[in-house]
């Protein structure tokens, strides 16, 4: 329509003998190479579009599959084979036989079926074991590594049925049945006379770390003195060194009672003890009843003759 707004002079043509008859279906078409290129361009665009759609559908399907899979445990299988070897390592004396009795593992069981956490718990329930690690060594082995307590004392207890039993006291106060220790090694350990609590029970043992400190120091610096210790009495040591009158008592064949102040310097006290014993020896080994090293700045030696010498 020309002259828009007024409707003047429409120019349309139709009916017979109009150009539209020539443009009807079946008319001539003169093609050029550009037609083919245009068609290819369209096809490529359509294919590209379909590829993009396909990609998004595939990505969506993959995400959906992932989401569905997450609802169940992942089925990842390790390269495990039946158990063939158990690699046992310890920094102490526990023997392989003990391990066999304790863990009760059968060769041939699937490595992945072994509950290593339960195994670790069972091992650590044994008093002599301070800590344990259990590892799967693929494809067919189990490694068990044990760290044992260090024994410092022996304890003889009488059970309710009257039987006498020897137990071991570790440096942290743990009491356990010693397994695998040689007789000689046990013989070197002094006996412990524990502090008795108000209910008459000796457990738990308190103040053992402090006592172990004294024993280790004397073993290291004065081994001849240490070999003399036969009994360590905590009768007057409740475990709290800050309390007044806390005394660790040692009993030897030579001197029945040697008293150490629990809150005093062990090095100084041992030095004094060494001096006193050498002095006694030099004086012809008179019979000594008691040496008290717990006095402040002093040491008292009580002879069997009731004579008391005060040394500074």
């Amino acid at each position: 329509m020309i002259g828009h707004g007024k409707g003047k002079g429409e120019t349309g043509v139709g009916g017979s003998q109009s150009w539209r008859e020539l443009a009807g279906v079946g008319g001539r078409r003169v093609k050029s190479p550009w037609v083919w290129k245009r068609r290819m361009r369209l096809i490529m665009k359509l294919l590209g579009g379909l590829a993009v759609l396909g990609f998004f559908f595939a990505a969506g399907y993959w995400v959906w599959l992932q989401a569905a899979d997450n609802e169940e445990p992942m089925g990842i299988s390790a390269p495990a084979q039946p158990l063939e070897r158990i690699l046992f390592q310890t920094d102490g004396v526990l023997p392989n036989q003990w391990l066999s009795r304790t863990v009760d593992l059968k060769i041939g069981v699937n490595l992945m079926l072994i509950d290593i956490y339960d195994l670790k718990d069972r091992l650590e329930k044994v008093g002599q074991v301070r800590s344990a690690t259990v590892e799967r060594v693929f494809p067919n082995a189990l490694r068990i590594t044990v760290k044992e307590h260090v024994p410092v004392l022996r304890l003889v207890v009488q059970s309710k049925d009257g039987t006498i039993q020897q137990q071991i006291v570790a440096d942290d106060g743990t009491v356990y049945e010693g397994i695998g220790y040689t007789r000689r090694a046990l013989k070197r350990l002094p006996y412990l006379q524990p502090f008795l609590h108000g209910d008459g029970s000796h457990l738990p043992l308190l103040g053992i770390p402090k006592l172990a400190e004294l024993l280790r120091f004397s073993q290291r610096e004065y081994p001849t003195l240490w070999q003399m210790w036969e009994v360590v009495s905590l009768e007057h040591y409740s475990g709290d060194a800050r309390l007044p009158g806390q005394v660790i008592e040692l009993r030897t064949k030579l001197v029945p009672r040697i008293l150490f102040g629990a809150n005093k310097d062990f090095a100084l006290q041992l030095k004094r003890l060494d001096y006193i014993l050498k002095k006694i020896e030099a004086n012809g080994n008179p019979s000594v009843e008691r040496i008290d090293l717990s006095l402040r700045g002093l040491a008292a030696v009580q002879f069997s003759s009731k004579q008391v010498n005060i040394l500074q």
Partner: protein, 405 residues
């Protein structure tokens, strides 16, 4: 239904093929989204002489435009030109049938049918039926419905052309698998975009001087009363210069562009111009008078033919062309051409200036026709949408793909 569509305006000219891509948005918006002007092949004096060569260059131009705009044309508005186009003014007459003399719709349709139903020779095809005002008992009316009278007349300026030539143009577009929505002759397309409504009412003559033809359209009282094609254009001026100055066509074209003037002036006798102006071998001097005399004569011939055709139709009256002459087309760039038109017609003449709301590069005279085609696409879209086929899935998918950047 309001739906965006991409239309192409295609003008197959003698020297160039112009393609504009327009996106019609809703019912009133048009975005020009691509344009290509390519060298034409296989076209002489506006008519296709080699179908395959013409198809090759037209298809290449459309393809390039589509590629640049990243879209696909859905339908084409095609310009038609050439000396084969002719016009005839037919008048349809009917007697008002109602007893009380009130004009009814059927009376109007009867008058229209009478005017448009004239048979043409079998080798001719109608391109436009351009309606002029109705006359009821001799009184001019825009719409005679419900008016009282006895004799109803309506005149149509009917443009027709050679069926073979029209078919050739359609074959080129159909060969690219595109549908021709409408065919508009070049002069009408140029006129519709270059003239204001007031100028059409006052009367105006638009002359589109292309390379092979010069098309014109005459408006009076807002109606197109005559169109015509003169098979002389800028190429003839180049040819005349080539023969007259004894220089090759390329050199003649260069002289026309650089030194050409449509009006001979006495001062030209004292002036000489160089062919290339760079003093290279082959560069020659020419008297400017020789150049302007040749151009003056040829341009004068074009205008005189148009004037004669208007006078022969008793349509050349200065008072009825008060808005003057508007010149467009590539050859209208010739210096002094408006002056030559004023001298020949005795009317005020001016060079066309493209619509201000299009990009500057599209305001040049070469794009007037293509812009007019897009204007047609916009103003005629309601009719187009009514008859448009509903889009299928593949068309929608194609549109989505084309629109993704």
């Amino acid at each position: 239904m309001s739906q965006d569509r991409v239309v192409g305006a295609v003008e197959i000219g003698t020297s160039k093929v112009a393609v504009l891509l327009g996106e019609i948005v809703g019912k009133g918006g048009l975005n020009i989204i691509g344009h290509v002007a390519a060298t034409s092949k296989g076209v002489k004096k506006g008519m296709i002489s080699d179908l395959y060569a013409a198809s090759d260059c037209v298809h290449a131009a459309i393809m390039t435009a589509e590629k640049n705009a990243n879209t696909r044309i859905e339908e084409v508005y095609l310009a038609q030109t050439g000396a084969h186009l002719q016009g005839v003014f037919n008048v349809g007459v009917t007697s008002v049938r109602s007893a009380n003399g009130v004009v009814e719709k059927s009376d109007i349709e009867q008058a229209k049918e009478d005017a448009k139903g004239r048979d043409l020779p079998t080798d001719q095809t109608y391109i436009h039926h351009i309606r002029n005002p109705f006359r009821l008992d001799g009184q001019a009316l825009e719409n005679p419905l419900a008016q009282v009278g006895r004799r109803l007349e309506v005149g149509y300026w009917s443009v027709h052309g050679d069926s073979q030539n029209v078919s050739n143009s359609l074959s080129v577009i159909r060969g690219f698998n595109l549908h021709v929505r409408d065919m508009i002759i070049s002069s009408i397309a140029s006129g519709v975009i270059l003239l204001e409504e007031a100028e059409k009412e006052a009367g105006a003559l638009v002359i589109d001087i292309g390379a092979g033809t010069s098309d014109y359209v005459l408006y009076r009282n807002g109606y197109i009363v005559k169109t015509g094609v003169v098979s002389v254009g800028g190429d003839h001026i180049t040819n005349d210069l080539s023969i007259g100055l004894r220089v090759g066509r390329k050199g003649a074209e260069e002289i026309k562009i650089k030194h050409g003037c449509a009006v001979y002036r006495s001062s030209d006798r004292e002036e000489t111009v160089w062919l290339y102006g760079d003093l290279t071998i082959g560069d020659r001097q020419y008297p400017k008078a020789a150049i302007t005399r040749i151009i003056d004569a040829r341009v004068g011939e074009i205008f005189s033919i148009i004037k004669e055709q208007l006078e022969a139709a008793s349509l050349f009256q200065a008072s009825d062309i008060a808005a003057g002459i508007v010149l467009t087309g590539g050859t209208s760039r010739l210096d002094g051409i408006a002056e030559a038109a004023e001298s020949q017609f005795g009317l005020e003449a001016r060079l066309a200036s493209g619509p201000p709301d299009v990009a500057p590069e599209l305001r040049c005279p070469e794009y007037s026709t293509a812009l007019g085609l897009l204007h047609y696409a916009l103003t005629g879209q309601e009719e187009a949408q009514e008859s448009a086929k509903p889009y299928g899935f593949l068309r929608h998918l194609t549109n989505i793909l084309n629109n993704e950047k």
